[in-house]
Amino acid sequence: MTGALKKTFNLAVTVNGEAWSAEVPIEETLLEFLRNRLHLTGTKRSCESEVCGACTVLVDGRTVSACSYLAFEAHGKTVLSIEGVARGENLDPLQEAFIRNIGAQCGYCTPGQIMAAKALLMENPDPTREQIAKWLGGNICRCGAYGAIAQSILEAAQEYRK
């Protein structure tokens, strides 16, 4: 049966390897869930229209705009945000490469850039510069650090292939 109308949802979700549960309002976005409840503030709020990519996180390995993805949709799924990318003290090769190449200026878009890049390298660990440009086309860097971002991803890809 359809069941009654729900105003809240009993959400059970794994975020960066930790299992959480919460009763969330239907209208709560994944961005609000991460930032306000878990205080994972690496995921940024910016355009709120699925254009800029600052709020990019992975849900079951796929990128979504956390600002426009309702939290209840993540029920039973695995969310990875920028805070879960490093393994303990060991940074992800993407993070290392972004630091090495100064792949950020102000840094606001960087978590989203890295999450989008991670999804790309998980799907294709040997991307061309053109493939990187197309994939990252939905992640805007207003400082214009695109060259260094692309270079960082190319270098990190070498590590992902090992």
Binding site: T2, K6, A22, V64, S65, G138
Partner: protein, 310 residues
Amino acid sequence: MMQRATTGGCPYKADTKNFEMLQSLQLVQPTTVAEASGALADFGEKAKIYAGGAELLLLFRNGLLDAEILVDVKKIERLHRIEIDNGTLKIGACVTHHALEKNELARAQAPALAYAESQVANVRVRNQGTLGGNLAFNDPHSDPGTVLLIHDASVIIGNSSGERPIALGNFLVDMYATALESGDLLLGIDVPQLPPGMKSGYWRLHRYQRPTLGVAAGVSMTNGILDEARLAVGCVGPKAERLTKLETKLKGTKLSDAKRILADEKEYLRELLRPVDDLLGSAEYKLYMAGVMLGSALEEAGRNGHDRRS
């Protein structure tokens, strides 16, 4: 109350004071078409069909919809299928753009559609947004509908008393308006094969994520003569349109004459496409570019079709 499921306990209180949240929403998750239709009929204007949410949540965010109830149709299993049945590619309404872009059946039967899907917005929107949602929203600045028109695609509409097919051209009524009636939901899209030997493609002009202009072409040619051309243009006016009158004029002509014929049909294009001035460009610019891109689409489709893979 937040709980760490493994250990219990809650480190933080939800702090929502500084956030502007979406309006208060309620959710219903039917598992059958009849239940979904019943919910839509019962709740009327208060309820909206919710699939990927890629467009719907933007409307909420911008205060353009005051709906209170989401009828989440993703629990209806059949809406997720992609299959070939009797030569027709049948796509469930909840299949995402990304799934279609990668799907081998779609790439084989409708390569221009698979290509158009790979161009929709960005990878996040393609992961979340669905073909059914895209068509039912009928935003004029959209890609897939234009390609589906040259396939003579139809959509399947369902409600609690049954289902009915309707040609896509009749389904897309006007900007943001479709033939869906109260209690109706879009179940799927039927995409017939192109005629044997027809090559097809999709070309788009875009400066931002939403296209300024989309052109779909299917061309069958023998020795430089157009046996059949199917043409559709989207984005410049209220909705995507098939250019049937122009197609008839092109039939039996040389490809080299096609551009001249196109140039003569500017007023036909203006009347049919009803181009509008907006932030993506002036009506004149869009009309001009539609002519240019139709010409190159005919040439390129005639030459080798469009097996671009993303």
